[in-house]
């Protein structure tokens, strides 16, 4: 492509970047995202630096802000950790939102029909199990389509489209069989019995599921991503990496892509389902099945997973970062900017994060045309 007296060419990087270099590119792209949004703040007559300071100070250094950051961190980290697993095997599960919603449905079913008077130490684990199984089941077709179907990108299509049946199932349940008989006809399920409400720290929206998220991060690290000199230490982790790089080579070496695909999407769907259980039964704003459960955290989780470099520790940090952005958005709003600017702010950063992936794999060469 020619630009004035320069010529631009996009080339694949010939050698893998080191961990440090990829981190640098990611941080730079986030900074560029902030710079791009700064232009919009300037156009509205606000000082972007003051706003950014305000957003981050509120999200991480005030008690209220930090608590609301953490409450968003919980579902985000579970979803993103889960997504990182199939992403490593180059299986694009972009439908975590659907798996998340199915998890909420499964948990609600258990809570509404078996929750009354049950022992919380029994029923809550059962809810998590149901959520995990439902989310995993919802994700299963992705693996089959990815491996067996003849066209590229079928995993993207099927995972995205499975979001809609999940959403409509919730709509059907809360306007139909599960509608709250005492809810004056409004579309929502009855309140969950107290025994099924996951313990939240008093006065906050931070519930015990946060430990589940951290445990999931550790387990994924220990069983899948633990590396020694760049080579995963576990057999499963190794097979995921090899098949992700080159399925044909892996199959020739006796690995089964279908098996790995199924394992990875089951993990990702299951963790998204767990996030759904935590959100519907742990977040004190819910405790009932409602249409507003779908807040597209499943889609945000995609960028979170990539920003974290598909690495559990990186994902914990990037989840905190995005949770902080979501929570800190309120500071932008109360400064008098319209809410669409907050969406633009979050959206632009997601975009720049994904652009970073492009720069990690490719480079742009400039030449002066003589």
């Amino acid at each position: 492509m020619k630009l004035g007296k320069y010529e631009m060419e996009i080339k694949k990087r010939s050698k893998e970047l080191t961990f440090q270099e990829t981190i640098q590119i990611r941080i730079l792209s986030v900074l560029m995202g902030l710079a791009a949004v700064a232009l919009i703040f300037l156009a509205y007559g606000h000082n972007p630096l003051v706003l950014y300071f305000d957003v981050f100070f509120y999200a991480f250094f005030t008690v209220f802000g930090l608590l609301s950051t953490l409450s968003r961190f919980i579902p985000l980290v579970l979803i993103a950790i889960g997504l990182s697993v199939p992403f490593r095997a180059k299986i694009d599960n972009i439908g975590a939102e659907g798996q998340f919603l199915i998890g909420t449905v499964a948990a609600s079913g258990v809570a509404l029909f078996y929750g009354e008077g049950a022992n919380p130490f029994v029923v809550i684990p059962v809810m998590f199990l149901a959520g995990f199984l439902a989310g995993a089941l919802w994700a299963l077709p992705i693996a089959i389509f990815r491996v067996k179907s003849q066209f590229k990108g079928s995993d993207v299509v099927i995972s995205f489209l499975l979001f809609f049946p999940a959403k409509f199932l919730i709509d059907y349940l809360i306007t139909g069989p599960w509608r709250d008989p005492e809810g004056w006809g409004f579309p929502q399920s009855p309140l969950f019995p107290e025994s099924t409400q996951i313990f939240a720290f008093p006065g906050t929206r931070v519930h015990l599921t946060i430990f589940l998220g951290l445990a999931a991060a550790f387990l994924i690290y220990y069983f899948l991503t633990r590396e020694k000199k760049g080579i995963p230490e576990t057999k499963l982790g190794y097979e995921i990496n090899v098949l992700g790089e080159n399925p044909e080579a892996g199959e020739a070496a006796g690995m089964s892509f279908l098996k790995i695909a199924i394992i990875t999407v089951l993990i990702s769907g299951g963790l998204a389902g767990l996030a759904g259980v935590g959100e519907v039964a742990g977040n004190p704003n819910f405790y009932r099945l409602r249409p507003e459960l779908s807040r597209f955290l499943g889609f945000t989780g995609i960028a979170v997973a990539w920003l974290g470099g598909l690495n559990p520790i990186g994902i914990i940090i990037s989840s905190l970062f995005f949770a902080g952005l979501l929570a800190g958005g309120i500071r932008i709003q109360v400064s008098g900017l319209p809410v669409s600017v907050v969406d633009l702010f979050n959206g632009s950063l997601l975009f720049f994060v994904l652009v970073a992936e492009f720069f990690i794999r490719n480079k742009i060469e400039w030449r002066t045309v003589s």
Binding site: L42, G185, W366
Partner: protein, 425 residues
């Protein structure tokens, strides 16, 4: 701007690793660029802030006690419907009273409502919180327990507590009046209603619309299309309206927060519409017959004055339920403020005669005005939901002369006779 662009170019160049093809990143160069960026950015930022800083707003008189009110909105304030109308009310009281300061948060997800309420109370220091949508009900009640000294008002809910009151402005009388006009003016005998969600409020309004239409023309039917997507969804609303038109409908009423349905009517001949919530007549000047308008300003003023004077405090709100209708003047008939019926349609309405058992033979125009008057009086002498009235399946609901009480209407989940279409169950 120039140094800023220069900085971006350095970054780009750096990312691209320039023309010498050098793959290895130089750590100190990287940090130098970041540092340089921060310095330049800070310079631009503070410079811009310096230039753009306006004159500080004069604070209220120090002698006067002040009040800060926080509003939680469900949609964007530019929706030209529900949230816009609430914000008009907020701006009105904010401008009118020196002792009042307001702050709002838009497009609040009901899942975040509790958090945003805590934010408004703890960080912004609000004394009164208005939560302006039904899904915030549980969060508002819970917040009331957390913040004992704060006063809460929740719009359209049914739960109250010592420091949580409720308020609502209902339109069913207006829909009934709209129905009278629609029933008189329809050529095909088919009316259509585009409805966002199957909740009691909308069911009540659809029924009122059908009751009005059937009063002047017993053979008229009202068909309903549920959107079930969003309160603001122009695309679905447009599709639903077109679907109704294809069945022969020529009068459209709706409950959705965009101007989609008036625009459909405006672009189709011989199809007429009743504007909803905001003055939407301007979108369909020759197709809008009338409509419903809201005045949250009047209600907010009443509430905030009573709070300021101490009549409402954080212990006595358990029975405070504002349910205002026409008589409190918090809603208005028409597609534009001060225009109850579009003048284009007045001659036609005056030409259609109707025989009423009490009012005798009068024109539909006079009937609408008489009913408006009857329902606007301090002592309401006309109730649209008065028997004899049947359920949709034909069994009797109200006997002759019996009127439905407001609590029955608030929990309405059934259609009356004359409405075709079903309520999702």
């Amino acid at each position: 701007m120039t140094p800023y662009l220069y900085y971006c170019r350095i970054l780009l160049k750096y990312l691209a690793n320039a023309k010498n093809g050098e793959e290895k990143m130089n750590g100190s160069k990287f940090y130098a660029i970041v540092l340089l960026g921060i310095i330049i950015g800070a310079g631009i930022g503070f410079g811009a802030g310096w230039l753009m800083a306006g004159t500080p707003i004069a604070g209220p008189d120090g002698e006067m006690p002040t009040l800060k009110a926080g509003f939680i909105y469900v949609g964007p304030i530019g929706d030209f419907g529900w949230t816009h109308a609430h914000d008009v009310g907020r701006v009105y009281i904010d401008d009118k009273y020196d002792w009042l300061d307001t702050v709002y948060v838009e497009s609040v997800d009901p899942a975040d409502a509790g958090e945003q309420i805590d934010y408004l109370v703890n960080v912004e220091g609000c004394d009164v919180i208005f939560t302006t949508s039904f899904p915030y009900m549980d969060a508002t009640i819970a917040a009331g327990e957390r913040h004992n000294d704060t006063i809460f008002f929740h719009c359209s809910g049914y739960l109250r507590s010592d420091n949580v009151g409720t308020y609502f402005n209902d339109f069913y009388q207006l829909y009934y009046l709209n129905g009278l006009m629609a029933g008189a003016l329809t050529q095909t005998g088919k009316l259509g209603y585009v409805a966002a969600f199957p909740i009691p409020e909308l069911i009540r309004h659809i029924n009122a619309f059908a009751i009005g239409a059937n009063e002047v023309n017993a053979s008229v039917t009202t068909d309903v299309r549920w959107m079930n997507t969003d309160w603001f969804d122009p695309t679905t609303a447009t599709n639903a309206a077109n679907e109704l038109l294809s069945t022969g409908v020529d009068m459209l009423a709706f409950t959705e927060d965009s101007s989609a349905v008036p625009l459909v009517a405006n672009s189709t001949d011989d199809v007429y519409v009743f504007s909803h919530y905001s003055p939407m007549q301007l979108f369909a000047p020759s197709s809008t017959i009338s409509g419903q308008l809201v005045h949250w300003d009047i209600m907010y003023e009443d509430i905030i004055q009573k709070v300021y004077l101490g009549q409402f405090n954080s212990t006595n709100l358990a029975d405070v339920d504002y349910l205002w209708l026409l008589q409190e003047k918090a809603c208005e008939l028409g597609g534009d403020f001060g225009v109850p019926i579009n003048p284009i349609f007045i001659p036609a309405l005056q030409a259609i005669m109707h025989t009423d058992p009490v009012l005798g033979t009068i024109s539909v125009y006079d009937l609408v005005m008489a009913r408006l008057n009857q329902m606007s009086m301090a002592n309401i002498i006309y109730e649209p939901f008065t028997g004899p009235m049947d359920f949709k399946n034909g069994t009797e609901w109200l006997t002759t002369g019996e009127s439905a009480d407001i609590y029955t209407l608030l929990g309405m989940t059934w259609f009356v006779d004359g409405v075709i279409g079903t309520i999702p169950t």
